[in-house]
Structures are given as C-alpha cells and as structure tokens.
Symmetry: C2
Subunit: 208 residues, 2 copies
DNA sequence: TAGTTAACGAAACTGGAGTCCCGTTATGGC
DNA sequence: GCCATAACGGGACTCCAGTTTCGTTAACTA
C-alpha cells in the first residue's frame, strides 16, 4: 500500500517513467521555443511526445509546473568552462557562450519562455533561480583566480562579477535593444572587468 | 459610412471611449500585479473596470494586446530626471528610481508580468522596446554632460551606459538572485561609471 | 518469474474563456 | 438641439483546455 500523497513518478522512477519524462521535457522545450509561453497547450506537448494527455496533466499539472521540471533538467546539463589565463579572457568566453545561446533562435526563444513562466509561479521562479545559481557557481572560480593573481582587489564578490557579465545580455534579449552579437558579449565582459578592477563589486560596502 | 477596417475607439476617441480605456488599463495593471501574466482573465478585468466583457474583447482581443496598450500608456507617463552635477550622482539617482520601482510589490509584479507578456507577442515586445527606448532617451543626457565635463572618454555610448545601470537590477528581479535594495542600486551605478571611465562603452570598438 | 500495484492511456465529460447577436447609449458633426 | 452611427453591454452560445473514469501495461520485489 502506497502513501496516498506520493507524487506520481516518485515510487517507480525507472524505465517507462523516465522515458516519458525525457520525451515530454524535450517536447516541452520544442513547443516553448516555437509557440512561446502563452500559446502553449499541454495536449500538443503530449502529442509531440507520443504520450497520453492524461499523463502530462497527472504528472505536471500546469505549464509552469512543467517548466519548473524542465529547469531542473536543464540545471543538470552544465557545460564545462574554459580557462584562458586572464580574467578578461575567461569572462569573454563566458559572455560569448551566453550570447551564442541567447542569439540562437531556438535556445533564445526557450529562455524567454522559461523566464516568462518563472514570473508566474513561485515554484518555477525557484527552479530558475537554482538554474542560474548553478551556472554562476560554475564560473565564479575564474574570478577567484583573478583575485589570487592580483588582477582584481581582495574581497571582490566573484558571483556578482559573473552575474554582471550575463545581466546586460539578458536585458537586451528581453527589452529588445540592439542585436546580441559578439561585440555585445565582449562589451559585457570588458565592462565587468573594468568595474571589478575599480572595486565596484567589493563585498564589504559600508561606505563608498 | 465608416471604413470597415477601422479599429474600434479610433473614430470617436473622446468621452466614454477614453474613460473606458483609462478604467480598463488601470484594472489591467491591478490584475497583472495581483495574478501575474498567466492567471489573467479578461472577464475579471472587465468586472474590475465596471465595463462589459464584450468591450474588452472587442477593443483589445487578447491579454498580450491589452498589455501592449498598457505599455503605450506607461510610456507616456515619464518621470522627470534629477541632476546632481556628477555622473555617479545622476546614475545613482536613476538606479535608485529603478530599484524602488522594481522593489515595490505592485510595480515589481507589474513589470515582471509585462516582460512576460512581451516574450509572447511581437507587438507587445515592440511596445516594451519603445517604453525602454523612451526611458533611456530621457536619462542619456546626463552621460553626455559627463563626456562634456571630461569625466568619461569622448565617444562613449550614452544610451548603453544607461542600459548598463538598469540591466543588473532587472536581472536580479527576474532570476531572483538577492534582494533589490539600495546597495544593489548603488553598485549598479558605480559599476556603470567605472566601466564607462575605462572606455568599455565606446561606440567605435573595432579593436580592443 | 510471478505477483503487486505504480504509472500510463483512451474516451467520455465539464466548466469557463472567448464569440456572437442585437438592443441601448452617447459622441461628434451639423 | 438633433441626427447618424460609433461604441458599449447583457445574455445566449460554442468550443476546447483540463478533469474524471476505468481498463491496460510494465516497474520493482521477493
């Protein structure tokens, strides 16, 4: 006898259950990239995934719930970061990775849709938050190395520097100001380095 | 005899038509702030606005269409910018204005919803784009003044500097990393100034 | 490898978002 | 002030997103 409140998919997570999840999440990504967050239909996703409509509703319930799970899945697939030996080089590599992702029609649309979904439900917002935490955590060490090399002042908030690289690219993506080209990526990296050198991202900021 | 294709509200825009628009846009803002973009119901907005459901559907049709019109309305109400005499002072004033707006529960939720809506339809995205263009245009002169004073190198892209101030605040709002407090606003302003001084926002960037 | 039951899937069902119809109100031009 | 008609509003209607039901399939355990 199972505990009544257990979520479907948690007791027998292997085999078919895992295949269904993978198939549905892939279909969800495709559908989000194509139709955007608003014009999304779970029945359409079920059709693409060759899965029963009932299954999608039972396991994920809502579009935002499905996106939250998609984000958990996306968070697990992290790309290895490159190391170039200088902070500017590392951050440019990071910026170009973000830029290429957001400029790609499918991926860019997907990220827009995922961000839109996150504004609509706390659980989805939390999943998005977690996704970016992981990405930032992945890249933060290159800032620490720069601190160790003396490129950037002691006490610089490494996480904040990484976020500073992404922020202008996402801002452009969402507000639609200008193209997301390599120049934009390089500019974001250079601005972050210049600001970090000047001590704009020091952790202890009691007086400036 | 009227031209069949004319949109409702364009032939007799005064009196009742204007009152209905104002009432519906206010109700739409309230509803967006409360329920978010996804859980929005045009019938609910009609009820709040004390207007017929049919009217809302006839004039705006969809949620994204209504948000697009709301953005046109928001773009018209611009706040006067303050002048402090230094670039850092001006940008801090700008940053704090943005931060206070986004940190405010109602306004913050409204902006999230509006951005979400803009990811779902081109017309709405264009309206959002236009809204930010106006805001950026409004604040760009303070960067030009800094260039004239010699605070910042000749050829600095004034618009890009203004966007650089907002970007990290919006990034925090959407990805949910940390609180949007005054320290975040000041940091955004300081980082923008430092990057601008270092020439990160020069227009001609053939080689760096 | 057999038994238990978690998880899936097809089909019927339902409620409410969005549409349509037509009578009423009030704007803008004279 | 008066007329033509743009724009509004109530109510009936439709259609499909989301739910419920129940029979089928296939994980996990021993």
């Amino acid at each position: 006898m199972a505990f009544e409140g257990a979520d479907p998919g948690t007791v027998r997570p292997g085999g078919r259950t895992a295949r269904v999840r993978a198939s549905v999440l892939r279909a969800a990504g495709d559908a989000l990239a194509e139709h955007g967050f608003a014009h999304l239909d779970l029945a359409d996703i079920a059709r693409r995934a060759e899965v029963g409509k009932t299954t999608v509703y039972r396991r994920w319930g809502t579009v935002t719930g499905l996106v939250a799970d998609l984000l958990l899945d996306m968070a697990e697939q992290s790309l290895p970061r490159t190391e170039t030996g200088s902070l500017l080089g590392d951050l440019k590599a990071n910026a170009r990775l973000v830029q290429r992702t957001l400029a790609d029609p499918r991926q860019g649309a997907l990220f827009k849709a995922v961000i839109a979904a996150a504004t609509c439900e706390a659980k989805t917002a939390q999943a998005l938050h977690r996704f970016y935490d992981i990405r930032v955590e992945e890249w933060a060490p290159c800032v620490q190395q720069a601190i160790d090399r003396g490129e950037v002042p002691e006490g610089t908030d490494a996480h904040e520097v990484i976020r500073a690289v992404s922020a202008p690219l996402y801002y452009r993506l969402l507000t639609g100001s200008g193209h997301l080209d390599e120049a934009a990526a390089d500019q974001a990296a250079e601005a972050a380095v210049a600001a970090a050198r000047a001590g704009a991202y020091l952790i202890d900021r009691s007086e400036c």
